[in-house]
Amino acid sequence: MALLNRMDWYDLARTTNWTPTYVTEDELFPPQLSGGFGLPQGAWEKYDEPYKQTYPEYVKVQREKDAGAYSVKAALERSRIFENSDPGWKSVMKAHYGAIARGEYAAASAEARMMRFSKAPGMRNMATLGCMDEIRHGQMQLYFPHEHVAKDRQMDWAFKAYDTNEWAMIAARHFFDDIMLTRDAISVSIMLTFSFETGFTNMQFLGLAADAAEAGDHTFANLISSIQTDESRHAQIGGPALKVLIENGHKAEAQKRVDIAVWRAWKLFSVLTGPIMDYYTPLEHRKQSFKEFMEEWIVAQFERALTDMGLDLPWYWEQFLADLNETHHGMHLGSYYWRPTVWWNPAAGVTPEERDWLEKKYPGWNETWGQCWDVIIENVVDGNMALTYPETLPYVCNMCQLPILGTPGSKWNVKDYPLDYNGRLYHFGSEVDRWVFQQEPERYAGHLSIVDRFLAGMIQPMDLGGALHYMNIAPGECGDDAHDYAWADVYRAMRATKKAG
């Protein structure tokens, strides 16, 4: 039977807008959910998705993808990759699954919002497929780690993390809720699919896949790069929405949404992806540094495409480029220091060879972050373990929910960016975080950071035990040094040699 080519019927098939007569357009598409920017349905009918897909094609292609990913898993299941992998690499997997898997279900909900409420028929079609993509990602990223739960209790956090008040999860939820779950359909398309998915998911799902392939974890590499083939399609939902907004005089609104989402994504990735790429992944398996991956995926690829579509580089562009050298080193130091409060075991990543690598990739590392690590190393070598843990809380930013950081050393530059709003004093880690808040204060004003909750007496008793209880971290799940401090042996030996000499 002769079949029509797709493009012979595609335009007709997606022409699904009609003029409602029993209800008003605003009742059919409530502005708060649809985000029409005051544009009538007709303006949104010009939306033309550049990466087209139809349901029959989708089913066929997805079946093939799943067959590939699941057969690689089945083939390698008995190869003991997990058991034999470096403890640092196990931590990469734990951090990834916990922070991502259930977020995929939230993303399915965000896609469903575009599917129902977008005034653009083409967007509704692509979001229908995108919603099923995200369900696939949630299911796979719960199923794949599940085989390891019996071997390692922290793997249970692949499912559990999103239900807890663990601090990194509060930060992740604050961001994802902001861009995915509490915005209108058009804003979701710009903030989630365009800003986050054409940009940052490439870091976590392809950059990290490159490290995974080097580490021999082909199940994980294959899984996440397969997921990214879905992303590369449905991430294109936002682009044509941007074009519609720009053509109709709403460039500033579009730009603002991109700038907010990109900055917020960057902060989350500085704590999630930066440490795992530059410290946890065993040195010999690091394909590139975190900064090099950021330059490849975000600077060269995403931002270049963004300006090609008629937007500008974010107003904080120079600060962003400067922070690529710094922020994640502080995030790593902080999460290592507060390691009992995470669901994975942070790898210190500071043997002499690793420090040489860090110095090469980030000139000045030893003079700055290295100085802090010198103190930790001294204490570990001396057996003063109590001194390697914190006694106080960090100051946490009321936007990114992550510690307020500066770069240590001679240029110590930590700074609080405060804001008084309706009688409450808020603290931010950067000018940009504060700017995000100021764009829509009521959206964020009621939220309490983990430190705010501590100071409000919501965490009892006010000590580590109380904090762990509040964060739902059960005994046996607490993070500790990934290598049980074996990395310090070399420093112990160096000291002994020095003494003998």
């Binding site: 490159a210 600077v299 060269a300 050298n325």
Partner: protein
């Protein structure tokens, strides 16, 4: 510090697919040469993914990929291994195009 190198990364006009390794990626590399004659092709193999790029514009034709694969191929089958791409995309029944509107 080393602001320069990061800022420079932005100044590029590279477009094209980023593929998972496999026979499809190999066919796409060959198709990129055949369908864009006289143009310089940049292939960067990162093991988990392969960047297949050209300056400003790259066209891939369904028929060329089909011939390189030696089996029937529909244009949207590319998605099975298309993990990402640089530039903007335009998808049609018999070809796919990656491009930038502006040149830097």
């Amino acid at each position: 510090m080393i602001l320069g190198s990061s800022a420079q990364a932005y100044h590029n006009n590279m477009v094209g697919p980023i593929m998972r390794a496999g026979d499809l990626a190999t066919a796409v590399i060959e198709a990129a040469k055949l369908d864009n004659p006289g143009r310089e092709l940049f292939v960067e193999d990162k093991r988990a993914y392969i960047r297949i790029h050209m300056e400003q514009e790259m066209v891939l034709r369904r028929q060329t990929i089909e011939e390189e694969l030696g089996r029937p191929f529909k244009m949207n089958d590319l998605e099975v291994d298309l993990s990402s791409f640089a530039g903007q995309i335009e998808s049609r029944d018999n070809e796919i195009r990656f491009y930038f509107v502006k040149r830097i």
